[in-house]
Structures are given as C-alpha cells and as structure tokens.
C-alpha cells in the first residue's frame, strides 16, 4: 500500500498537525518508504496467533475506594494543574471561542 499527497494531508488533518504543500510533498516518499518496508510483515504466518495485549502478564489492580487515596493524584490540585497552562483564566483552561 502506498500513500499519495491527498492521503498524507488527510492523515495530517486527523493528527491535527498543520502542514503546507512543501511539507506534504516531502512526507509522501518518506512515509511510503517506511510503509513499503513494514509490508514484509504480511509474509509472516500468524494463523492462530493472538495479537499481544500485554508484554508481561499482569493483572490490573483495583485501588481502595477512598477519596484522595493518593494525595498526589487526588483532588484539590487546581493551582498545580493550571500552573503550566498557556492561558489559565478564572480557574479554568482558556481556549479560543468554540461556539459561533
């Protein structure tokens, strides 16, 4: 499978990365090189093989149902959460207008 410029533009838009024509042109052969190379995986007989879900068998744990069980990841952290926001306003993340 190979991608053309329109497909790369579509992927870039899905990935929310703005790209101008020159960047798209440059990306097309690079992505095709990589995609053609990974195509060799099609040769592998995977009959009866389950796709790997966890590399080391591990079961997901449940934590105790306690409020703020870990104070680091619990609540009451508004100041810390907003400390690095590019535009924190009134205790919220500020964003450009989304509703016309």
């Amino acid at each position: 499978m190979s991608v053309d410029k329109a497909t790369v533009a579509k992927i870039a838009s899905l990935a929310r990365i703005r790209m101008d024509d020159a960047e798209l042109e440059q990306m097309v052969p690079e992505l095709n090189g990589i995609l053609q190379w990974v195509e060799q995986l099609g040769e592998v007989d995977v009959t009866g093989i389950e796709p790997m879900a966890a590399v080391i068998p591990n079961t997901l744990r449940l934590r105790d149902d306690v409020v703020d069980a870990d104070p680091l990841t619990g609540g009451g952290k508004q100041g810390d959460v907003l400390a690095n926001a590019p535009a924190a306003e009134h205790g919220f993340f500020g964003v450009p207008k989304v509703i016309e």
Binding site: M1, V3, T7, V8, I11, A12, S13, L14, A15, R16, I17, R18, M19, M27, E30, L31, G33, I34, L35, W37, V38, Q40, L41, G42, E43, V44, V46, I49, E50, P51, M52, A53, A54, V55, I56, N58, L60, R61, R63, D70, L72, T73, D80, V81, A83, N84, A85, P86, A87, F93, V95, P96, K97, V98
Partner: protein, 493 residues
C-alpha cells in the same frame, strides 16, 4: 588527591560512607565538570544547586550517624524525559519548552530518596524518537569519542544520548536512561559504557513523558556492571500509580553479583548474523563467547526465527502508541500554544502541533495515525501485534535451551553526526539487535567489549528471561572482568 570525577557510583557511595571525601566535594567536582563541558551539549539545563543540596543532606546524615541510602552522595544526570518538580522538563521538544512540573516522577523521587542528587537534565532525541541524538530541539549531542585522527563530531547514540555522552565523558558518574527500542543499550554501546533495560514493569513509568507505553522502560547508564546493579536497585520497585508496574520484590542485585557462570547456558541466536554487520562487531561477538566460556558457561546455538520481523513490527507498534500518547499536546493544558489571529480551537491545535513537534516526531505521529485509521488497523496494527507475540514466543522457546542470550548491541560502531539523515529507514536499522528484546519486554544490557580500528567502542548485549536481571548482570560482569575495557575518550571539550 584523585580527581573525584574519575569515580563511579560504587566508589563514590563507599568513599562518602567511609569519609574519604564528602558528598559536597563530589558534587562540586561534577558540577564544575558539567559547567566545563558545554561543547558536548549533553545537558539541556544544569542544576548544580540540586546536586549540592542533596550532597549536604547526605553529609549531614553521615555526621549524625544516620543510615545512608543506596546512592548516598552520588550526583547523577537525569534524562529530560523524567518529570522533575520545579525543574523544566522538555522531552527535548519545543512543545514542552518551559514546562515545569509540579510533581516528581517515581523513578527520580526514588533516586533522591536513596541519597542521589541531580546535576541537570540531559539532552535526548525529541520525545525519545531517534537513534543518534540529532532530533532534539535543543541541538545535537556530541559523543566525547572521536575517530582516531579526526575532529568530526560523532553520535553518542540515541535516544539517551545526553546520558551516554555525559557518563562516557566523566561529567556524570551515572545517568538515567529510558529504552523503548534500544535507547539505553545502543547509546551505551556507542560510548563504551554499560546500560541495562530491566524487565518491562520493574521501573515505574509514572512521571516519564510517554512515547510508546507498552515498551517504555527506565534504566541506569553507568561505567560498570556493579554501578548499574546499584542504581537499578534504587530505581526499581512497585508503584501503584503505574498500572503496568510489577508487584514484586526488588532483589538485591548488587549483593548477588556473581561472575561464575558454571552451569549456565549462553544462547547464540543464529538469526543475529545479519548482512551489514561490521566485521569488527562479529569478531567481538566471537570474543564474547570465549569470555563467557572462560567464565564457565556452556555456549549453545539458539534460534529466534522472527528476528527479521521485529523491527518492522516495532515501527508500527511504537508510532501507533506514540500517536495516541502525543495527542495530549494540544496547546491547552501545558506547553506551547500557537494561536494565529482569528482562528478557532481546531486550527489552534494544528498550529501548535506544527510549531511544537520536530520532523521525526511528526513522521512517527503520521505513521501511527495511518496504521490505526479505519480500514488499515487490522492489516498493520493487528498484524504487528501478532508478529510481536511471535517474537516473544521465540524468546520463550530459546530460554528453554539457555539461561541468557549473547548478541551484539548494534550492527555498527558510532557514526558521524549528520551522516545518516538522508533516509529515516537507515537510522531505524541501527536498532535491529536491540528491538526484539524490547518487543518481548525482557531485561537486556549492553556492556563495553572492545575498541574498533577507528578507536571507537563496541558493545555486547545480554538478554535474559523475564525478571532475571541478575542473570543478565552476572553475565555482563563476566564479560567486564575479561574484556578489561579501560579505554576512555581523550578530552577535547
């Protein structure tokens, strides 16, 4: 008095404990070495005050007769992928430039609790994507090594290239690294130092900037196997904040180090004899076999039939996970925001990400987005995850016949910066020997073996069973004792 910067982790820890020198003297020595090595560009920021404060705490604890931690008095470099409270954490990207975490990663916190201090945040490939440390927004890192008779700047490997450069140059006794597809082992091999990636889940990923979450693992980089064992012991351990953290005791790897390999079988995977591998690397592999035999091990041939497919599978799985993980950089909650005049939210996302990510990061996000998109998911992603299961099964079968696997770490020695940039694929191929163990989540280590005709170091890789870091470290120690690798780069910086 001996220059304290020539010491590694164990010598510093023991020297401080005995009172041969103070932790403050050590920190001052390394702070000065860091300040004098700007030409390497190994550090994005230096934090001399952090190192001094930690040292003073250790000196005070010793004076008070308190028990000292595993890393007491050892100042280290911290790869700038670990969130550090109050200290800029960038992942070597523009999009996180200025980001100052209000929390500490689990691994770095454990190191501080063990008495280590921080010399600074080490440069790396942007978001740990790269094998040469040429994708950092903050500039290339130079290896302290150069080819004999040449001034050409050489690659320290990647992505933990700041770590490898700093440790090899003796401006840090040890450093943290992270390994997603070879990012500890390949740079260690390129710079003549040791580095171990433990079993997936040994070290908490909490507070490490995520690249490919099913592969990312932290580990130590230092100049000896003993130093790696000590530092790994301080970094590892169960963390409820990481859902993939292993709920297991951390063995005392340092205390159990034993280079007597009698009764052990060392597997030599025949599929690792690949075209394009330097003759000097193949020779060092033969030498490695002889060393391990001399240590009492039996050498056996093993087969890892899907080796060839590990790298292409990795270049689907890792970008797919990266495209999901890096979706969080949107210009809203932290990091860069690029808001062109009069645009809405969606355009702000796209502009921010265009300005904030480097070319290699964009390339991998696009690949990941494509292989996960409707209609292609099964052909690419599901197939890659099946191949990954086969790669892991190969190792499980091989470990029925051997205890540890010996292989080269890389197919070549270090290369000049700028020499591999024409085609992204050629760079990817440098991780061909490192990626299979990553896909299988296995502990793997690189130890320096020898110097090639150009005067550049070559590494040997050891891969162990899940949770058997001890077996890997022991075989590494056997090689270290026989290789007698004492070469070091001549100071030019």
């Amino acid at each position: 008095m001996t220059d304290l910067t020539s010491f590694g982790v164990k010598d510093i820890r023991d020297g401080v404990a005995k009172g041969d020198f103070t932790a403050r003297e050590v920190a001052e020595g390394f702070n000065a070495a860091v300040a004098g090595a700007a030409a390497l560009n190994a550090f994005i920021v230096s934090t001399p005050d952090h190192a001094l404060a930690a040292a003073d705490k250790v000196d005070a604890a010793r004076a008070a007769g308190d028990a000292l931690g595993k890393m007491a008095g050892v100042p280290i470099g911290m790869k700038d992928l670990f969130a550090t409270n109050g200290v800029q954490t960038t992942a070597a990207s523009h999009i996180l430039e200025g980001f100052t975490p209000r929390y500490e990663s689990t691994v770095s916190q454990k190191l501080w609790d063990a008495g280590a201090g921080m010399l600074g945040k080490l440069n790396l490939d942007q978001f740990a994507m790269g094998s040469s440390n040429e994708t950092s927004y903050f500039g290339n890192v130079s290896s302290p090594w150069r080819k004999a008779g040449s001034n050409q700047p050489m690659s320290p490997g990647g992505s933990s290239g700041g770590s490898s450069s700093a440790v090899a140059a003796r401006i840090a006794p040890a450093a943290t690294g992270t390994d997603t597809g070879g990012s500890i082992r390949q740079p260690a091999a390129f710079t003549g130092i040791c580095g171990i990636k433990p079993t997936y889940g040994r070290c908490s990923r909490w507070g490490i900037v995520a690249f490919a979450s099913s592969l990312d693992q932290a580990g130590p980089m230092a100049r000896s196997v003993e130093d790696c064992a000590i530092m790994l012991g301080a970094m590892a351990g169960f963390d409820p904040k990481d859902s993939t953290s292993l709920q297991m005791d951390v063995p005392d790897w340092e205390a159990a180090l034993n280079a007597d390999l009698r009764g052990k079988k060392v597997g030599i995977p025949r599929e690792y004899r690949m075209e394009g591998t330097d003759q000097a690397i193949l020779d060092s592999w033969e030498q490695g076999k002889a060393w391990l035999k001399d240590a009492g091990a039996e050498i056996v041939d093993v087969s890892l039939p899907h080796t060839k497919y590990a790298l292409p599978a990795y270049y689907i799985v890792a970008p797919a996970e990266a495209s999901s993980n890096l979706a969080r950089y949107d210009g809203v909650r932290y990091g860069l925001r690029d808001l062109p005049e009069g645009v809405g939210l969606q355009d702000m996302y796209a502009a921010t990400r265009a300005a904030g990510f480097g070319d290699e990061v964009k390339r991998r996000i696009l690949i990941g987005t494509y292989v996960l998109s409707a209609g292609f998911y099964d052909a690419y992603y599901t197939q890659a995850q099946k191949v990954r299961a086969l790669v892991a099964r190969d190792f499980a079968r091989a470990f029925e016949e051997c205890d540890v696997i010996l292989a080269p770490t890389t197919p070549t020695a270090s290369f000049p910066l700028g020499s591999m940039n024409e085609d992204p694929l050629t760079m990817y191929l440098n991780d061909v020997f490192a990626v299979p163990a990553s896909l299988a989540g296995l502990p793997a280590m690189s130890v320096p073996a020898t110097i090639n005709a150009d005067g550049l170091p070559l590494g040997l890789q050891l891969v162990g069973r899940p949770f058997d870091e001890q077996g890997v470290l022991n075989a590494g120690l056997a090689i270290q004792q026989r290789a007698g690798f004492t070469a070091k780069p001549e100071k030019w910086w």
